[in-house]
C-alpha cells in the first residue's frame, strides 16, 4: 500500500533528514517508526501525508506517486488520510463537535448525516458526552482522543499518528493505543511515530528504526 523508493529529504541549509530510504508497508499493517528526537520520524510521516515533498525519490500510496502531485491535487489526496498530530492542532474556539464536523464539511457532508457521523466518531473515542465542550477544557488525553475522532470521521483507510502518546501518562497512552489498535483490527493501515520503546514492546507490531536519516 505504501512504498518509498530511494527517498531523500534535505532541508534548506543542507541538513539531510532522510537519505535514500526504501520502505514497503502492506495494507492493514500497523507499524511503529521509532528513533531519537530529530531522527526524521515526523518528516517521514509528513512525506507520506504529502505535507512535504521529497528532495528526490518516489512515494507511492496505492498506485499513485504522491511525490509528483500538483499543489492543487494535494488536498484531495489528504482526504484519504487521517492525521493525528502530536500537538493536536485543534480549533480551540470551536466546540468538540465542530472540530469533528470540519473534515466532513471539507468532504461536502452536511446536516444530519454529518452530525450523525461526527457523534459516532466521538462515541468511538469516548467523548460523546463532551460534544458541546471547548477543546481547551479537555485533558491532554481527551484532546488526543478528539484528534483521533477528527482523523477517523472521514473514514480514511490510512492513519498517520505522530507521537500520539507523547506527554500522556500510562493510562491515557494505553487508552489511545487501544483506540488505534481497534481501528487497525478494523482493517485500517496505521503508522505511528513514537520514541516510547515500552509502547512498541507492549503492542508487538512491526518496528522501523530511523537513525542518521536511514531506516533499519
Amino acid at each position: 500500500m505504501i512504498e518509498l523508493i530511494n527517498v531523500t529529504k534535505h532541508y534548506p541549509g543542507g541538513h539531510v533528514t532522510l537519505a535514500n530510504v526504501d520502505l514497503h508497508i502492506q495494507r492493514g499493517e500497523m507499524v511503529f517508526i521509532t528513533g531519537r528526537s530529530g531522527a526524521g520520524k515526523s518528516t517521514l510521516l509528513k512525506l507520506i501525508g504529502s505535507i512535504e515533498k521529497p528532495t528526490s525519490g518516489h512515494i507511492k500510496i496505492g498506485n499513485e506517486d504522491i511525490s509528483r502531485l500538483r499543489r492543487t491535487t494535494v488536498p484531495y489526496f489528504r482526504l484519504n488520510i487521517g492525521m493525528i498530530f502530536q500537538d493536536h492542532k485543534l480549533l480551540y474556539d470551536r466546540s468538540v463537535l465542530d472540530n469533528v464536523l470540519l473534515p466532513l464539511h471539507i468532504r461536502e457532508v452536511h446536516g444530519a448525516e454529518a452530525t450523525r457521523r461526527a457523534r459516532a466518531a466521538l462515541e468511538k473515542v469516548g467523548l460523546a458526552n463532551r460534544e458541546r465542550s471547548r477543546p481547551i477544557t479537555l485533558s491532554g488525553g481527551e484532546q488526543q482522543r478528539l484528534c483521533i475522532a477528527r482523523a477517523i470521521v472521514g473514514r480514511p483507510r490510512l492513519i498517520l499518528a505522530d507521537e500520539p502518546t507523547a506527554n500522556l501518562d500510562d493510562d491515557y497512552a494505553h487508552e489511545i493505543m487501544g483506540i488505534l489498535q481497534a481501528l487497525n483490527e478494523g482493517g485500517d493501515t496505521i503508522l505511528i511515530a513514537t520514541h516510547d520503546q515500552d509502547l512498541i514492546v507492549r503492542y508487538g507490531k512491526r518496528r522501523l528504526v530511523l537513525a542518521d536519516g536511514t531506516l533499519s
Binding site: 484531495y76 489528504r78 492525521m83 492542532k89 480549533l91 473534515p103 471539507i106 468532504r107 461536502e108 452536511h110
Partner: protein, 301 residues
C-alpha cells in the same frame, strides 16, 4: 458530490460569513459605513446630474426664442409668416407680438417717458416661439432654419444657455464615472484589507483545515461571501444616505421651486439604479475579497 451538498456548502459559507460579520459588530459597522459613504459620493453626484437633467427638460415649457422681423415688414406678411411657422416641426407654441403691442408692453414696464419722446414706433414685429425640445443641438437647428427666412432680422435664443447646460451635464456625467471608478477601487481595497486581517486572524484554522484536506476553494468561500455581504450592506447604506439627503434637500428645493412657480422636487434613485448600486457593491466587495484571499493565502504556502 451532489448538487444538494454543494448548495448546502454555499449556504454554510454564507452563514459563516454572516456570523463573522456579526462577531465584530463595531468593526463591521465602521467598514460598512466607510463603504457606504464612499459609494454615496458618486450616487449623490448621479442624483444631482439626473435631477438637473430632469429640471432642464422641464424648463422646455419656459424656454423661448424671440424672432425679430425686419422693421419694414408689413403686418400681413408677419402674420402669414407666423401662420406658416406654426405648422413646422420643433415648434410647440408661437405667439405673434405686433410692434404696437410691443410698444404697449414697454410703456407698461415704466419706459413711458423715453418712448413719448420718440417720433415713431422703433420696435419691429416679433414672434415668440417655444421649442418642443431644449437641447442645444435642436435649438441651434431651429435657429438656423429661422434665419433662412428673408423677413427675419435677428434672433434671441436660449441656444447658448442650453449649450452651457448640456456641457455642464456632460461634465457631471464624466465626473460621476471618474468618481465611481476611483471609489470602486477604494471599496475593493477596503474590503480586501478587512479580509486580509481576517485571514491572518484565522491563520491557525486555515492551516489546520489545509492539513486535513481542505482545498483553497473551500477556504476561500466564506471570505468571498463576507466581502460580498459587506459590499451589499455598504451599497444599502449608500442608498439610505442618498435617500435621506434627498428628503432633507427637498424642503429647500420646494421653497426655491415655488418662487419660479414650479412644483419641481428632487427624485430618489429609481429601482434599476438602486439594484445596480446594491449588486455593484456586492460584486466589488467580492472582487476585493477574491484578490485579497488569493494573494494572502499564497503567503501561507
Amino acid at each position: 458530490m451532489s448538487l444538494g451538498a454543494h448548495a448546502q456548502h454555499h449556504l454554510d459559507s454564507l452563514i459563516t460569513a454572516w456570523q463573522r460579520l456579526r462577531a465584530q459588530p463595531l468593526a463591521s459597522a465602521f467598514s460598512i459605513l466607510v463603504i457606504g459613504i464612499a459609494l454615496s459620493l458618486p450616487t449623490g453626484l448621479y442624483l444631482l446630474i439626473s435631477n438637473l437633467d430632469r429640471a432642464s427638460n422641464g424648463l422646455a415649457e419656459h424656454t423661448e426664442i424671440t424672432v425679430f422681423l425686419k422693421p419694414k415688414t408689413e403686418t400681413a406678411t408677419a402674420l402669414s409668416l407666423a401662420e406658416s411657422l406654426r405648422n413646422e416641426p420643433g415648434i410647440r407654441k408661437l405667439r405673434f407680438v405686433s410692434r404696437e403691442d410691443a410698444l404697449l408692453e414697454l410703456q407698461r414696464s415704466g419706459l413711458d417717458d423715453i418712448l413719448t419722446s420718440l417720433s415713431s414706433n422703433p420696435l419691429p414685429h416679433a414672434l415668440v416661439i417655444e421649442p418642443t425640445q431644449t437641447s442645444a443641438e435642436q435649438i441651434r437647428r431651429l435657429d438656423q432654419r429661422l434665419r433662412q427666412r428673408p423677413e427675419v432680422d435677428a434672433i434671441a435664443s436660449a441656444e447658448a444657455w442650453a449649450r452651457r447646460l448640456t456641457a455642464l451635464l456632460d461634465f457631471g456625467i464624466g465626473l460621476t464615472w471618474m468618481l465611481s471608478t476611483v471609489l470602486a477601487l477604494a471599496l475593493a481595497a477596503i474590503t480586501g484589507n478587512t479580509i486580509r486581517l481576517q485571514i491572518y486572524a484565522r491563520r491557525d484554522e486555515i492551516e489546520i483545515s489545509r492539513l486535513i484536506g481542505a482545498t483553497d476553494r473551500f477556504i476561500r468561500r466564506p471570505f468571498l461571501y463576507f466581502g460580498a455581504l459587506q459590499g451589499l450592506l455598504g451599497g444599502l447604506t449608500a442608498l439610505l444616505i442618498s435617500g435621506l439627503a434627498i428628503l432633507w434637500l427637498n424642503q429647500s428645493v420646494a421653497e426655491l421651486a415655488t418662487t419660479y412657480g414650479s412644483s419641481f422636487r428632487l427624485a430618489l434613485l429609481d429601482v434599476p439604479i438602486s439594484l445596480l448600486l446594491l449588486v455593484g457593491g456586492a460584486l466589488l466587495g467580492l472582487a476585493g475579497a477574491g484578490l485579497s484571499v488569493t494573494y494572502t493565502l499564497r503567503d501561507f504556502d
